[in-house]
């Protein structure tokens, strides 16, 4: 009996050419990274544009050349093959190495920006073109950040090309990062307006509702009023309403930049999140403590400001500075991003983000959002729990046929994507029926 043949069938076979293209991509990426390092020494000053291309440009081209052909390797579908064998994605040596590099970058960025001077200068031409001023360390950071989301976003879309929810959601985070967190603030600067991020609100951008910021915006007239208005409306009106209708996902995995990075650059590490009961306990303590801290800080600052500084003197400033250092820098940056390859991609979102805490409380107690489980179809395989970046033991619910209503769920939809039996579905529906099955 001959092997069965069906005409006109696209057959996926190991392809030498693809391997070659991927290797070339890696090579170009490697050159780009080396040129980045070379630029640090300052030689790039001789030909800034050339070096900008050689470093940033080649890195992007290389990364895309590496990840785009992947779609030709295998038919669309969940292919998490070898994730736990790969040193990079299973806390091996490479993972630690990359973790240390990223952490090191944050250390330089926060405390020794002058060491990054040559990189910052590399971006001057771009900075002038749409910000109208020279580049600084935060522009450098923003550029890296946005590029990471865009490039890895493309990779994410290719990986989940069979899943429209993932595609649209990824396009959304790419859009908000590029537009709202990169271009608009830059253009505002160019127009001599206050730099403002319309996609971040108090309490994530805690100082947006601090008296100092508000007073500053007041003084910049029309657009400043709008910014204050926007901040207040988004925090106190839009957030509860949107979360009621769609769950916290409308923000955490569709809009937010931290979430955006986690969902794109962080995607290869989502399975590293600890899903033990103990981790859940720690999470609840930590995240709510941060929220309480930021609420108290904000309140104190306003009281202090109302009493013209007589209550706390300068200590309230110290208070907020402490927060900025501990939570804003160390936690969200170093632990939050630097430790992606070690602790998973949502450490900050899960343990530290005060915005996530508020969204979570609303989601848990008053929302139409839930993850529905499909009757008895669960085979307890554990893909959902393993790939849940928030460390939720999804399987524990699915096995019992119970819906998942959890404060921390960011609605990334990956649990539903990796489930081999179609057990899970993210849904918005009648909030009174959300714990049990429909009908």
């Amino acid at each position: 009996m001959e092997p069965l043949i069906i005409d006109n069938l696209k057959i996926y076979k190991p392809d030498k050419n693809l391997e070659l293209i991927k290797k070339i991509g890696l090579l170009i990426l490697g050159i780009g990274v080396i040129m980045l390092l070379v630029s640090l020494t300052g030689v790039s000053a001789i030909a800034p544009t050339l070096f900008l291309f050689l470093s940033f440009g080649l890195s992007i081209i290389g990364a895309l050349t590496y990840c785009i052909p992947v779609y030709k390797e295998a038919p669309p579908g969940i292919k998490n093959n070898k994730i736990f064998f790969n040193s990079f994605t299973s806390k091996g040596t490479i993972a630690w190495f990359v973790g240390i590099i990223i952490t090191g970058f944050y250390v330089l960025l926060y405390w020794f920006p002058n060491l990054l001077e040559n990189w910052i200068r590399l971006l001057d031409s771009i900075s002038y073109s749409f910000r109208g001023i020279k580049s600084d360390q935060w522009f450098l950071y923003g550029t890296f950040y946005t590029l990471a989301i865009l490039v890895m976003g493309i990779k994410m879309i290719i990986k989940y090309r069979h899943n429209r929810y993932q595609i649209i959601r990824t396009l959304s985070v790419m859009f908000f990062q590029l537009g709202f967190a990169y271009l608009i603030p830059a253009i505002l600067l160019k127009l001599n307006q206050p730099e403002f991020y319309f996609s971040y609100f108090w309490p994530l951008k805690y100082h947006y509702l601090f008296p100092g910021t508000v007073k500053g915006l007041f003084s910049s007239g029309g657009i400043g009023y709008f910014m204050i208005f926007w901040g207040v409306v988004m925090t106190f009106i839009a957030t509860p309403i949107l979360t009621y209708f769609y769950g916290k996902r409308w923000y955490c995995s569709w809009v937010c930049g931290c979430g955006g990075l986690a969902e794109t650059a962080g995607d290869p590490f989502r399975h590293l999140s600890d899903n033990s009961l103990k981790a859940w306990k720690i999470e609840r303590w930590m995240i709510h403590s941060v929220l309480v801290f930021i609420v108290i800080t904000t309140a104190l600052l306003w009281i202090n400001s109302a009493m013209k500084g007589t209550v706390l003197g300068n200590s309230s400033l110290a208070f907020s500075k402490t927060y900025g250092f501990l939570i804003g820098s160390v936690f969200s940056g170093i632990v939050g991003v630097g430790f992606y390859p070690i602790m998973g991609n949502r450490v900050w979102c899960r343990f530290g983000c005060p915005m996530a805490a508020i969204l979570g409380i609303i989601q848990r107690f008053k929302s139409r959002f839930r993850i529905t489980t499909n009757g008895g179809q669960c085979i307890a395989c554990g893909n959902c729990s393993t790939y849940c970046e928030m460390g939720i033991d999804v399987r524990a619910y699915a096995q019992r046929g119970e819906n998942i209503v959890r404060a921390s769920c960011v609605g990334c939809g990956i649990c539903a994507a990796v489930c081999p039996r179609g057990v899970l579905n993210l849904e918005n529906g009648n909030p009174n029926e959300r714990y049990n099955l429909e009908s």
Binding site: M1, E2, P3, L4, I5, I6, L9, K10, I11, Y12, K13, P14, A74, P75, P76, G77, I78, N80, N81, K82, I83, F84, F85, N86, H162, N163, R164, Y165, I168, H271, S276, L277, T372, N374, G375, G376, Q377, I379, A380, C381, G382, N383, S385, T386, R395, A396, Q399, G413, A416, A417, P420, R421, G422, N425, L426, E427, L437, E438, S439
Partner: protein, 440 residues
Amino acid sequence: MELLVIIGNGIAGITIARNVRKQHDMKITVISSESKYFFARTALMYIYMGHMRFEDTKPYEDWFWEKNRIDLVYAHVDRIDTDNKLLIMNNGETINYDKLVIATGSHTNKFGWPGQDLPGVQGLITLQDLKLLEENTKDIKHAVIIGGGLIGIELAEMLHSRNIHVTFLIREYYYWDNILPKEDSQLICKEILQHGFDLMLKTNLKEILAGENGRVRAVITDEGDEIECQFVGLTPGVHPNIDVVKDSKIETGKGVLVNEYFETNISDVYAAGDCVEIKSNREGGRNRFEQLWYTGKMHGEALANIICGNRTKYDRGVWFNSAKFLDIEYQTYGFVSNVQREGEKTFLWQDSDMKHSVRIVYKEDDNSIVGVNVYGIRLRHKVFENWIKEKKTVSYVVHNLREANFDPEFYKNYEPAILEEFKKQNPEMENSILNENTFA
């Protein structure tokens, strides 16, 4: 205190232990020689493919068992002495019981092929099999899989993930066509080919040949073809593991014989899961084997109630099952026979991409649905269960399919295309639907 001993920590045994604990204070011991802790057998493939680690396949954290006072014994039971209510372990120790459950699972079928016990030839059921598979497939290029059931296609996918070329040898005309209707199997055959496997249909294994090193070198088919390979996966189905009851007074057929209360012929001895053969309650009826994760769980839930004194008959309800054939998800509700039965008709829709398909089987006389097979689209279990119970007509179902859709948000809606096709195939039914909807 009364002591319940369960042999086997699979889904059946563990479900019994957990559900008894929820209702009762008796002492519970679960014995297994496979692993100390319960893990999901269904996830073995994902360990090999690197999607998960073994730890990730354990549905409960290790502290769970002590907290719920379920004693775990990691050892092998050799024999059961029902007269003295005693288990004899392979290390010579004995364990007493007041009530005993046998939930020992399955073994791989072997049909006496020459060479079936050669090194490099194996089935896949246990963790030990998985370890062996790691060794057997190290640095090999070509594997042959014999028998195309659910485990066969999983094994093929596993090997493929390690860049091992797979040849699938299937006795049937099409993949799994003793269960799936022809067009459905063809859809899966296409999927198999698309992944780059060789598929040899209507082909039997004749012999497995050894090379100079004593390991498998090739297989010979009944047509005389010789296929070079360094590994042979045997997946022509499973049969109940009844080793431990063989020398006891417990009655067996192919499996441990039980009635619909999971009681064996010996009082206080029960059995559940893959290892049982459920006696038909009809004269001359066929005994049942239910060798699935879902049925193991349902057996466990039912038997736990029975052990706790609520002796109600096992009723598995409307049948359902699901699987994933490479990238195509499959669900079935109710009963869909591989060849259309007397008095039944079929509505079939297949998308042109051959990745999505719906088949609804219904009764000829009143058009009420009997079952559904669906590929590439997720359906709501509850909705279909109700529709089948309520004997909804096929046209009602096709018109209301959206209600049963369980695909993620933004997915393509196939319902209009399905309805279109239905109208084309059954123009006469369209007239009656209006009346029916008003009563629904």
